[in-house]
């Protein structure tokens, strides 16, 4: 069984300590919600988990293996949703989604799963519309369809509900339930209240350094 864990994470950005001494353990099927006021480091923590950012100290592990030892392998088993939607204005919605799917699967974007993912999020009818014609919420939904179109054990979602209407939030919640039921893990940062069953919560405000001055950052 998969376990994603970290101990003693220490995050520095722009020469300032964002949080210290943070750890967590996430087992298959579990969910972790990151809360905290603006600027407390939710996005930074998610980027650490994805391997996009390196911790100043501390270790992230997948099972027993450190993720810094095989960053590509780690990238291959997670889906990350950040602030940008990575949508090409000249490609149609389905082309946008299936490119990522085929990159993930090593070359085989499956048209049916793509359409299925789009339908799950209620944008099946936009399939052929070019990316430049989408509203903010539609773009976000396309980005979410991307992660539905190929399986990956770990989802890292940074405020995924931004710009979504109530109905899409519900679809996302359902998708997360399915994902967890299949043994997937999910980490979400959010200000608005999403409905997740029995999840862990990390309040980033609790890990802020009171003294941000750091020797090692020179």
């Amino acid at each position: 069984m998969n376990i994603f864990s970290a101990e003693n994470l220490f995050c520095v950005r722009g020469g300032r300590t964002v949080f210290t001494g943070l750890g967590f353990t996430l087992k298959a099927g579990e969910a972790l919600v990151l809360v905290g006021p603006n600027g407390s480091g939710k996005s930074s923590l998610l980027r650490l988990m994805a391997g996009l950012l390196k911790p100043a100290s501390g270790i992230l592990r997948w099972g027993a293996e450190e993720i810094s030892e095989d960053p590509e392998g780690h990238g291959g088993r997670l889906h990350y949703v950040g602030h940008h939607d990575a949508i090409k204005p000249v490609l149609s919605v389905s082309e946008n989604v299936s490119f990522w799917a085929s990159l993930m699967n090593g070359g085989s974007g499956n048209g049916e799963t793509t359409l299925g993912a789009l339908n799950t999020l209620g944008i099946g009818h936009l399939e052929k519309v070019p990316g430049r014609f989408l509203s903010a919420g539609q773009k976000r939904r396309v980005n979410l369809a991307r992660i539905l179109s190929t399986p990956a054990p770990l989802w890292l979602l940074d405020e995924p509900t931004t710009a979504l209407d109530r109905e899409s939030i519900t679809s996302l919640e359902t998708a997360i339930i399915h994902h967890r039921a299949g043994g997937g893990m999910v980490v979400i940062s959010t200000h608005s209240d999403m409905q997740l069953a029995n999840h862990q919560v990390i309040d980033l405000a609790g890990f802020a350094e009171t003294c941000p001055m750091l020797e090692h950052s020179l």
Partner: protein, 240 residues
Amino acid sequence: MLHRFANPTRFLRIASIAQPWIAWATILLAGTGLYLGLFNSPADYQQGESVRIMYVHVPAAWMAMFCYTSMAIAAGIGLIWKHPLADIAAKATAPVGACFTFLALFTGSLWGKPMWGTWWVWDARLTSMLVLLFLYLGYIALINAFDDPARGTKSSSILVLVGLINVPIIKFSVDWWNTLHQPASVLRMDGPSIDESMLWPLLLMALAFKTYYIWVLLVRIRAEIISNKIRILRLRQVHG
């Protein structure tokens, strides 16, 4: 070994002890070198008095290449072992190296007028030297082009490493292409082929330039560490 000096507090302590010594060494070496070179060495039978430009030109040219190489080594260490001090050393070297390069170009031009009858020719040695100046300037531009200083450091470190190819080109350009510039007569495999009365002041000046570089480097690294501290203090202040 490196880690001992990587600690900025320790570095600052060692630097403040070493600094006056190095300053005095620079002044002494440069003084003797200049005296020997300008007053106590013969004028060249071909080049006349203008040969005395050599005592500045040649050490400056050597230092231009030396600084770039050191910068590349420091940048490499900074990239691989994440040594903040190495990054700072690379950053501090750039303007000094650029100045040496400019000095070599400038004195070279001054020398070229009487010797070749022109300030400038587009041959391989002079051109690759000019490219070196641009590599320095590109580095300085790149390191300052980012809002986040850490980003600038990393980007420009990669650039220095890529540009390192130019150094052997400068060094061997006179051997690979036939140029106006004369080939190496000091730094060569079979020993120097230059008269001792000229060799000594030249070597003294070369040493003086090197100690001068170390002196400036210490000053600039200290300044950089302090300004980083100030930046962090300010951040701490505003973030409460």
